[in-house]
């Protein structure tokens, strides 16, 4: 059997897993695994034709079990996601090697298990992305959720609790998908994608509704959509440093991949659009859109109240997921492109931000926003990476986040959905506010006494961060590069493709050319600098030489304003945080506890004979009558 490119990739990934498994003990293991990830990325790039022209590369591995034949293949969609996965894997594991590895091992962490879990995650994600039919999709899906569980449960203690909560959600999602799978199988007779395509047309609306709910819910759990989002923030935040960078970047986007494959490609947006919710004028697509929009707003404003940097970023991860779904669900040329591009952009700056925060933790030992401050003087490079990251996350012009958000807004504008547009903007503004809190409390303001001798992050951690920052800026400057891949993905998935240029998007209703916009921006900065520096040199003043209404500032006084950062806003909005979803989750758990108490009582106080007698009676009565 000839080894197709896809086989090479999967075998390479398997080899990485084996290397991590067997040779993982040595200190050089980290570097070896990173190089192997690089190798995987090269094999993927050899398949680059997929990203531009589309087409399919089938894997020679396919077998039939219990009458179902499983096949694996790569197309533009899986290639695009695989590129992001392998990119973030390479950079995260590069970040993990060297200094971080030694400090993690010193704190008692198990490096071998960490690299093993990362390799397992990458392999399972590639298998999921290469799935050729619904059954292999489900198999890949379960593998990914369990591999994620392993990576999250690694750090023990709080992380295990968060991982336990994750696995319960993931299992519920998995079982919903399994139920949906069974329904599809029963109506279409086979789980191959083309057979399902035919069967979808003939499906009754109620069955289609059920399938949309089941698949939507199942994939929504992984993506962290609103009712099921509670697990994601603690789980991603508690994973050890580079692990959270990897998970934050790509792990929950597998849910979007599956939604694209199933809801968009198989069911088709037009079918979903036709599913009307009785008595209301909105249909399934609007429902998804509104879930996406609420997923943008609520997590973002929860992030604002977080006091731990990692949790703040993790909550933002959920929020940005909402944009991607919104773009995909609006499903016109710009919206689709915006959603998909946002996946790429988010992966870059989320990974960069997590790495920067891990670098700060590595140096100062804490991520608590109230215990940091003024580190810009000591860790300028990390500051720059974090700055570029938050500009991307907030979606401001020079960085790539702006392009995808601009596309999403334009599609909302074209489709004429004012409320969705408004909600998305509220989300963005919320992001800007909480993101400034992040950078202010860590890098700006008063430098604490104990952080005087803090040095810049070591090079093994700084290199991947700088690469990511560069990627963010370059794809911001030339969005055409990722847009090319996005266009080919849109063809595969069945969304209308966008006509893109290197600088941005050309369209009759207003176009965007990032090269000009950024050019003008930097020109403006130049003129501003000229005006500013024309006034001669300024004297550098010590931090304590500050206006304090007549008091004398001394080093031991902590006058940094970081706790309850947006007090003004919180006076008005504070009352609206009622943790209604936490209450929902607690009520479900207490229901199960109560039921199990009832069942336990049933078995303890069992007058077994009486039960037997009563069942015999009811059964006989049922027979006789």
């Amino acid at each position: 059997m000839t080894l197709t490119l896809l086989d090479e990739l999967l075998l390479f990934s398997g080899a990485t897993l084996l290397v991590a498994l067997f040779i993982g003990r040595g200190l050089a293991a980290g570097w070896m695994v990173t190089i192997l990830y690089g190798g995987q990325l090269l094999t993927l790039l050899k398949m680059a034709a997929l990203g531009y022209g589309g087409g399919i590369i089938a894997s020679s591995l396919s077998f039939t079990v219990m009458g179902q034949n499983l096949s694996w293949r790569f197309d533009a969609l899986s290639w695009f996601f695989a590129l992001i996965t392998l990119g973030s894997a390479l950079l995260s594991s590069w970040f993990a090697c060297g200094a971080w590895e030694r400090s993690y091992a010193k704190q008692g962490g198990n490096i071998w298990l960490f690299h093993l879990a990362m390799a397992l995650n990458v392999l399972s994600m590639l298998i999921l992305l290469a799935s050729g039919d619904l059954l292999s999709l489900f198999i890949g899906w379960e593998l990914v959720s369990w591999a994620g569980f392993l990576l999250m449960a690694l750090a023990g203690g709080v992380a295990t609790q968060a991982a336990m909560r994750y696995i319960t959600y993931a299992m519920a999602g998995g079982m919903a998908i399994f139920g949906g799978l069974a329904l599809v199988y029963s109506s279409s007779g086979s789980l191959q994608l083309d057979a399902v395509l035919i069967a979808v047309e003939s499906m009754s609306t109620t069955k289609l509704w059920l399938l949309v709910i089941l698949f939507g819910g199942g994939f929504g759990v992984k993506m962290g959509l609103l009712p099921f989002h509670l697990w994601q923030a603690p789980a991603y935040a508690e994973t050890p440093g580079p692990g959270s960078a990897f998970l934050g970047a790509i792990s929950s986007r597998m849910g979007l991949f599956a939604i694209l494959l199933v809801l968009v490609k198989l069911f088709g947006i037009v079918n979903i659009d036709s599913l009307k919710i009785p008595f209301t004028l909105i249909d399934a697509r609007d429902l998804l859109a509104w879930i996406a929009v609420f997923t943008i707003i609520f997590p973002t404003f929860t992030a604002m109240k977080q006091n731990d940097a990692r949790h703040l970023l993790a909550w933002h991860g959920i929020g940005q997921g909402g944009y991607m779904l919104l773009g995909v669900v609006v499903a016109d040329a710009m919206g689709g492109a915006g959603g998909l591009l946002h996946v790429f952009n988010h992966a870059t700056y989320q990974a960069a931000l997590f790495m920067a925060v891990t670098a700060v933790i590595h140096r100062t030992g804490t991520a608590d926003l109230n215990k940091l401050g003024g580190l810009v003087v000591r860790m300028p490079l990390s500051f720059m990476v974090l700055l570029i990251g938050i500009i991307g996350l907030a979606g401001l012009p020079p960085m790539n986040g702006f392009v995808s958000k601009w596309l999403v807004y334009r599609s909302l504008l074209n489709e004429g959905m004012p409320l969705l547009f408004l909600a998305a903007v509220i989300g963005t503004l919320g992001t800007i506010l909480s993101v400034y809190k992040l950078i202010h409390n860590i890098f700006l303001g008063q430098l604490r006494v104990e952080h005087e001798q803090v040095k810049e992050a070591p090079w093994s951690m700084m290199a991947p961060m700088l690469i990511l920052a560069a990627i963010i800026f370059i794809t911001g400057l030339f969005p055409g590069i990722p847009l090319a891949w996005v266009a080919s993905v849109q063809e595969v998935v069945g969304l209308p493709a966008t006509d893109y240029t290197l600088g941005g998007v050309e369209s009759v209703s207003g176009s965007l050319d990032m090269i000009w916009v950024i050019g003008v921006l930097f020109a403006g900065f130049g003129i501003g600098a000229v005006i500013f520096y024309s006034a001669g040199r300024s004297k550098r003043v010590h931090q304590l030489d500050n206006y304090a209404g007549g008091h004398f500032l001394s080093a031991d006084v902590r006058y940094q304003y970081s706790d309850n950062f947006y007090a003004g806003l919180m006076h008005l909005v504070g009352g609206w945080y009622r943790g209604s979803f936490l209450w929902l989750e607690k009520s479900v758990i207490s229901l199960i506890d109560f039921l199990s108490l009832v069942m336990q009582g049933l078995y303890r106080r069992a007058n077994a004979e009486f039960y037997l007698l009563s069942t015999a009676l009811f059964v006989m009565a049922w027979v006789v009558i």
């Binding site: 907030a394 012009p397 209703s509 207003g510 176009s511 500013f532 006034a535 300024s538 806003l569």
Partner: protein
């Protein structure tokens, strides 16, 4: 559009903006004086202030980020000018629409925030927190208004919007077509200026002029320049969205000064709003008006 001509425009537009901006600052201070029954500053007072600040001997800075913050503040607005079409010169309006402009206007506030953050002064940080909250407050109605206009015009390209408005003379002005949106836009514009009733984040009594607390010399000069650009950008944006932009220079200047006169005259009559009152106000009336206006437009 030959690249050379384009380059010429790119340099001329900010210059024009600076000059007109200074005139507007002067007008604002003159109106304020008149309301408080005093004469008000002479014609070139803004220019004098900027030159004085820039020529100070001792320039105090709190570090590189403090300086870069100010540069970003000025640079952001300068870049924003090129996106605003001015009679005769369109700049790169076609390359980026209103949304890009809206985002470009956010960069100066971010730059300022970074600069003030570096000064490590609690008053500064509180001021910035309030400034960002205020931005959250007035940006929402602003966005609704822009949505309405863009949807009505079917494009986000300012040049087309102005062309559409000028096509039918007075009748097809934005304000006439969408009165409610115009009013909402006005209130939002007023808040984004940061002038008297909505200037909680400068509030001299409470937080010692907030962000400006550590700014002296050329930093304060830079902020003055930014203020000129800010006034110019906001008024010209309002003019081009609702008053059909300037077909001739005289008509363009007249409209923008008139537009600026309204908030200037209202400014000094109200006491300062608290942050949450500002939020409540902004989220209640302009948003209501805007949504109703958009409903009409849809």
């Amino acid at each position: 559009m030959a690249p050379l001509e384009l380059l010429l425009e790119l340099t001329l537009m900010p210059l024009v903006a600076f000059l007109v901006g200074m005139m507007m600052v002067l007008m604002m201070r003159r109106i304020a004086a008149r309301i408080q029954r005093r004469v008000g500053p002479p014609l070139f007072q803004p220019l004098y202030d900027i030159v004085k600040l820039h020529s100070k001997q001792t320039q105090v800075s709190h570090g590189l980020i403090h300086d870069i913050g100010i540069v970003m503040a000025m640079g952001g607005y300068i870049a924003a000018e090129t996106l605003l079409p001015v009679p005769g010169m369109n700049g790169i309006a076609e390359k980026g629409g209103i949304i890009t402009l809206l985002y470009l206007m956010m960069i100066p506030s971010l730059g300022l925030a970074l600069g003030v953050g570096q000064c490590a002064n609690p008053n500064g940080s509180i001021g910035i927190a309030r400034a960002l909250t205020a931005m959250l407050a007035y940006d929402i109605p602003l966005v609704i208004v822009i949505f309405g206009v863009a949807y009505a015009a079917g494009t986000t390209n300012l040049v087309d919007i102005i062309a559409q408005q000028q096509a039918g003379g007075f009748a097809t002005w934005g304000a006439v077509q969408m009165p409610l949106l115009a009013v909402a836009g006005l209130i939002a514009m007023h808040a984004s200026l940061g002038k008297q009733p909505f200037e909680i984040y400068i509030a001299p009594a409470e937080i010692a002029t907030g962000p400006m607390v550590e700014m002296s010399g050329k930093h304060l000069g830079g902020l003055f320049v930014m203020q000129c650009f800010q006034l110019y950008t906001i008024s010209v944006l309002y003019v081009s969205l609702f008053l059909g932009g300037g077909s001739t220079w005289f008509d363009f200047l007249l409209k923008s000064f008139l537009v600026l006169a309204i908030p200037a005259s209202i400014a000094y009559l109200f006491p300062r709003y608290r942050t949450e009152d500002l939020l409540r106000l902004m989220w209640k009336w302009p948003v209501m008006l805007g949504l109703i206006g958009v409903a009409f437009v849809l």
